[in-house]
């Protein structure tokens, strides 16, 4: 009675444009999913942060309070609060429901490139072009950061947090991983200024994109190169990269208006999704569905797999 194992469905790539959100907040600097992927945040250059339902295309709330363009945002694990950082050198903690500023952390000497909550949303980590990562305590009322990670020699372009690690990419060409459990700092030299880093979903690898138009998959523990992904164009701008929902593909923005999909293992280009004529500035991959958000100019596109049928369209 040995049935052959069902062949696992090859992962489908989101390539069907489902929705285009005209954000109306200037250039969309970043687009981010919330923790469960039902909502998304767009960071505008008009100092606002907006919360959307990307599938329906409805604007839920606008958060205004930044003094300059918003460069990055993140949502907490319980969807109760947001954090964002921007060109006003401030990191802001928002209350989702009321839209009020809960706290503003000031201390960075330059633009805040990236913000991230830790797993329990007790600490906000923010990376700035002042070459420091600051850990802000959301629990206490301390105005100073809990710790400043100033090992970077140049601006910090990307920060990602796992349960016990902080992964940062810096323009000085190094990926630094601070392991709190081990009390060690691992610094991997990549050479080219790093634009984006991210953990793989299984937490074993790190994906690093740098300005030499290359994405590299590094083993987290040893720093060895597991894969290299080229073909896109990223030489000038801080562009996002991501891994697909099941770690099957590597996704990256490109300056030539496309989103590139590579097979993670083979490193082969799976898809070059044309988005528009400008630069695909930011992207976000859904945490557990083949759904992609891309930001180009002032609008955000929502992409799904081909087989996807929106409930809204059906009903």
């Amino acid at each position: 009675m040995a049935f052959p194992e069902p062949k696992p469905r090859a992962p489908e790539l989101p390539q069907k444009l489902l929705k285009t959100l005209d954000c109306g907040q200037g250039a969309v600097r970043a687009v981010r999913f919330n923790v469960d992927g039902n909502y998304c945040l767009t960071c505008g250059s008009d100092k606002t942060l907006k919360l959307w339902n990307p599938l329906r295309g409805t604007l839920l709330r606008t958060y205004s309070g930044h003094g300059y363009e918003v460069l990055d945002a993140a949502g907490s694990f319980d969807n109760s609060s947001l954090c964002s950082g921007g060109g006003d050198k401030a990191v802001v903690l928002w209350d989702v429901a009321s839209g009020q500023v809960v706290r503003k952390f000031r201390g960075h000497a330059g633009k805040v490139n990236t913000v991230q909550f830790n797993e329990e949303a007790t600490v906000i980590l923010s990376g700035s072009i002042d070459s420091s990562i600051r850990c802000w305590d959301c629990r206490s009322r301390r105005p100073e950061p809990v710790q400043t990670l100033d090992e970077a020699r140049d601006g910090v372009s990307s920060v990602k947090v796992s349960d016990h690690e902080v992964l940062s990419g810096s323009v000085d060409g190094r990926v630094r991983r601070y392991d709190l459990r081990m009390g060690q700092l691992f610094s991997d030299y990549v050479g080219s200024p790093i634009t984006c880093t991210c953990f793989s979903r299984d937490g074993q690898c790190t994906l690093v994109s740098s300005l030499d138009s290359t994405l590299r998959l590094l083993d987290k523990d040893t720093g060895e190169l597991l894969g290299e992904y080229t073909g896109h164009k990223n030489q000038e701008y801080k562009l996002d990269c991501s891994l697909s929902e099941r770690d099957t593909h590597v996704v990256s923005c490109s300056e030539d208006g496309k989103v590139f999909f590579w097979d993670l293992v083979e490193g082969s280009l799976a898809l070059a999704l044309p988005v528009g004529h400008g630069v695909v500035q930011s992207l976000a991959f859904h945490p557990n569905e083949p759904c992609l958000l891309t930001a180009m100019g002032g609008s955000v596109q929502c992409w799904r797999e081909e087989a996807y049928e929106a409930e809204g369209a059906a009903g």
């Binding site: 062949k7 696992p8 597991l226």
Partner: protein, 938 residues
Amino acid sequence: MAALHSDSEEDLVSYGTGLEPLEEGERPKKPIPLQDQTVRDEKGRYKRFHGAFSGGFSAGYFNTVGSKEGWTPSTFVSSRQNRADKSVLGPEDFMDEEDLSEFGIAPKAIVTTDDFASKTKDRIREKARQLAAATAPIPGATLLDDFITPAKLSIGFELLRKMGWKEGQGIGPRTKRRAQRQKPDPGVKIYGCALPPGGSEGSEDEDDDYLPDNVTFAPKDVTPVDFTPKTNTHGLEYKGLDPHRALFGTSAEHLNLFSGGSEGASDLLGDVGLNRGRKLGISGQAFGVGALEEEDDDIYATEILSKYDTVLKDEEPGDGLYGWTAPREYKSQKESKNDLRYIGKILDGFSLASKPLSSKKIYPPPELPRDYRPVHYFRPVVAATSENSHLLRALAESTTKAVPDPAMHSRHQLNASKRGELLGETPVQGSATSVLEFLSQKDRERIKEMKQATDLKAAQLQARSLAQNAASSRARPSMPDPGHGSWRTALAGGTATARPSTFKPFAKDPEKQKRYEEFLVQMKKGQKDALERCLDPGMTEWERGREREEFSRAAQLYMSSHSTLSSRFTHAKEEDDSDQVEVPRDQENDVSDKQSAVKMKMFGKLTRDTFEWHPSKLLCKRFNVPDPYPGSTLVGLPRVKRDKYSVFNFLTLPETEPTVQASSEKVPQPRSLDKSRKPSRWDTSPHEKKEDSISEFLSLTRSKVGPPKQESSPSVKQGEEHAPGSLSEKAADKGVTSQAEGEGSRPPMDLFKAIFASSSESSSSEEEGDSEDEQAGPEQASCTGSQGSASAETSSVAHAPESAPPEPIPAPAFPIQKMQLDEREEFGPRLPPVFCPNARQKPETPQKEKYKKSKEKHKPKKEHKRKKDKAETPPAKEAVTNPAQPAPESALLSSDCSDCSVNTLYRLYLYVNCCCKIFFKTLTLERFQKLISTFNSS
């Protein structure tokens, strides 16, 4: 009360109430048990032993408050009409009748209170009073007292009396023989004595002679110890003059003010007896002087009989001598024969000191000069004029005959330092009398110069006005070159207020500083060729030129700002330029190695640095992670102190080389991907064919995990061996110095150490210049790539500051500065431009245009950069360290070096020259070439 119940037997004394005799045939009553015994008051009520006023609560109705009807508070009654009836309630109104009875707390019966009771409670005093009354000149003087004060005898006293005790006797069984001779029967004696004068004497004698056998005597009375506390401020054992003794003729010699209590009591007895005896002969003698008698004055000097002992003292003084005083007196006399003269009597318990006190040495008072007058004479103040000079002289002569020499004259005006001078002492450093002495020598000079300068200025002003008048008529002489003129004018403005000595722009190099100061001094004097004069003639032409420029710029810059700034700042307590700086202990070192590793795609050990990193405690807590270093207070990377201006900070140590070699064997095996998380079934998709080298490699390793590893590693090793060569060839083709080549051709570290070891003291300005030289290195390397090993040397040195820049943490300051310089100038990856299709967003348009502009602005740069990328090895570093735009702070001193007019070799020569000036005073070109050759050979 004890009642004497006389029965048939007269002798019996019975105490207490007798029981009623039992009737015939009656059974004896059972005694009532204790618990049934009750105490009742006179009305038959149960007696309460506690009342409202004696500690308990029993007022009211059956131990309740109030009456039968309950407690009724006293109602208010207006006292307006019945004022007279108003009664003030006292405590008695609330008392029970028991309280008012004889044994209550407020008995109504009239008794003598303590205030009126007999003052002398002790019997002894009473007895003494009685005795005194008996022997008084007016007998019965105390009778009045007796009448007034009631005889209050205690119950014990009365009981004793009833038992046959008599006052004055001791208590106890009677003795057969009289224990002591003095033991009289006082009571008998008193009365006996009182009535027949002199009878007691006879009876005493009689007692002495006749001792019947059947006569027993009562024991001697013992006076109780007096425990009355001392409440007065008199001395111990002090008693006031006893009027009895004062009046009854006891002379001063016999008055013993210090007699003890018990002794006093016995004195009372004894003395009264004595007095009585004395009184016999000399009665009335001491009772004043009669009006008819003439000799008043020697009342107390009268020889009275009482001065003499008429009887041997009955009471032995306690020494067992029974009045035989001769040995004792002899002894005491022998002990202190001379002292007794003024001591008189020695207290009991004291004895005379055997050793005489050491007499204090007494110094005679100073002898006054013969002509000393104990009157102060105020000299008249006379103004010294020519008229009264003779008067002054006369005054001076009159006041002080011996006027000493002028030095001595101002003896009191001398201060410590002057006295020290006179004594020939070396002046003490610490003590300073004037504030000026606290200042350093330099500062004092400065003040002095300041004073002079202000004077000078005034003089100059005068002179200038004169000169201007003169010069206006004449044609002005030719001015010096404009460059010199500028700093000269700056100097002219600055020198008057600011001193050259305070600000030392070249403090690191004392010689240079000296030259600079000399230059300033000469400049102030207005010499045109000041620069040329003060420069070191031993220096090379280039150096002189450079120094010339430095001096002039320093003079221009620092002089103007210094005067205003210096007043606002104080010197730091801690040395700021202490040549030590905190540097992270572990540096991410040797980028060049890593770059080559990256180029060969050999990520892993080669590109990884691992540091000990201490997260803060709170961060660990927030991350729910145990603190990896529980005991440490460190946060971040461990830090060490390093020399700030050490050349070794800029040189990358080749200590990683062995690890590179060691790890190169293992590294090239890339980690096979985790199979469990990548079930690559869909790998058989059609686009698998398209593979690049790395993915091929990956799939290779994935498919053959076991034995193929051996296959793969040698191949990679081989590739690795090939890599440096091919790379260097490529690099040579492109005109780029390869890092591997640079590494290989670099001389050993010892050589650098030998050259640069002690040059860490070289001036900071030179260091900056050096680093500027180094930064300029890559450009020259690119343009003069054919220079071979020498240029390789430069490039390898030049890469060092990128890994370890001269400032410890340059990055935070640097980007900010740049950001302020140009808002659009960003670092690293820029944000993409806005590409907004809908044009209805009005507020966005200016921004968009700005972005577009910026993009256009960036475009040529980008192209330029790409060209450069091809030409240069360090890629994409321009954003951080753009050689075309040096840091503003370093531009000041080094812009003269950055204009590339000299070739690289010469530049390197200068660099080395600067660094090792200490060793080779002037490094000649020949020597340098020799050095280069050693580089080459090594």
